[in-house]
Amino acid sequence: MRDFIYHAPTTIDEALALLDEHGEDARPIAGGTAMVNLLKQNMVLADHLVGLGKLPGLRGVSQTNGSLHIGALSRHREVELSPEVLAHSPLLAEAYSKVATVRVRNMATVGGGLTHADPAQDPPPSLMVLDAHVVLTSSKGTRELPVSDLFVDYYESALEPGELLTELVVPQSPKGAKTVYLKFLPRTEDDYATVSVAALATVENGICQDIRVALGAVGPTPIRATAVEAALKGQQVTPDAVRAAADAVADQVDPLTDFRGSDDYKRDMAVVFTRRALEQVLLAS
């Protein structure tokens, strides 16, 4: 590993000032599970690392106006086990529980995970169907960004230099909504997804009212399956309608061939897992 200067600011203002001062030459580090591996591989060449571990007020789960607020330094494991998260958005707890192993989930933070922007990560598809947003803070102020707009490309998030992700906000799901997260793991249980699908739906009198579907590991970023949603919204829910809607995902995905499978295989699996997810939220009684 190259050497670098490590900063351990104790206030957010101090951390933001360091990021401003060193610009492109500085990178935040939270849990370090992604960053230390990147440093070891010389994939990150920053001369300054800004450790976020000692920043106050960024860890924990709270609720205001029906929304969950999760501090950026909260660990994956805390989200998975939080009674508040389980009561408010069980899908979120489920998605975080699927990440790697207990050891990684104890270390990895919510903010670091979302900023890392690996398209195969587990939480983003669920956060997208839950209409979650993040709060980004810089010395110029704060802005909110839907998680659906957070991912730009492989390992590239929409954060500007000098910005920190400080909070994840998850609104209440529509009344009666059913949710599911499916992670296809043909190799080992602790692997990244080969394909993953999150879905949320409400059905009234056999008509699909609200339908949201998102996939991970099928292209440069996680995606909302808008074609699938459009095929179902306002329609009578039948096994045939579900099957036809799931088929529509094939044209929306752009997977890479890698050691988890060929692009064709992953495209087929995207259809299969989208169908299974839809069956669970639309057809299961």
Partner: protein
């Protein structure tokens, strides 16, 4: 780079003993343990957080010391395999790994035992599925896992 390995003071409590160590920012926690403090019980194998050989407890939770920077651990309370036995008296898990053939080459064993101890400390009577879920991140190339499962289950209440 102008930094030329500037040294940082890291204060950690390891197995109840306070330590003050001066390290460069790029020092990993596993290297701090093994090279700065000569505590070689913790092993490093994959170096990327996958295998669990380097498992230690940081503030009571299992963590991978190979992808933790020593400077990140400043102020932390750390437990390593050296802190598991009570003096000369082996921890029941250590005895159980001996009795049930829970290791062969031994490279994964410190991590297995530290991880299993953390499970049993919070859940003294886990089900087989709970042990599997917890220990999923501790790989072993030798035993085939049955003996590790048996060692842990026999050491639980």
């Amino acid at each position: 780079m102008t930094t030329a390995d500037a040294l940082y003071t890291v204060n950690v409590t390891i197995n109840g003993q306070p330590h003050e160590v001066k390290v460069p920012a790029r020092r990993t926690l596993v290297d701090l343990l093994r090279y700065d403090l000569d505590m070689t019980g913790t092993k490093e194998t994959c170096s990327v957080g996958v295998c669990g050989a380097c498992t230690v407890l940081i503030d009571g939770e299992i963590a991978a010391s190979c992808i933790t920077l020593a400077v990140q651990a400043d102020g932390a309370n750390i437990t390593t395999i050296e802190g598991v036995a009570n003096g000369e008296a082996l921890h029941p898990l250590q005895q159980s790994f001996i009795d049930h053939g829970g290791f062969q080459c031994g490279i994964c064993t410190s991590g297995q035992i530290v991880a299993a101890k953390s499970l049993l400390d919070s859940n003294p009577s886990p089900t087989e599925d709970e042990v599997k879920e917890w220990m999923m991140g501790n790989l072993c190339r030798c035993t085939g896992y049955y003996q590790i499962m048996e060692s842990i289950l026999k050491a639980s209440k």
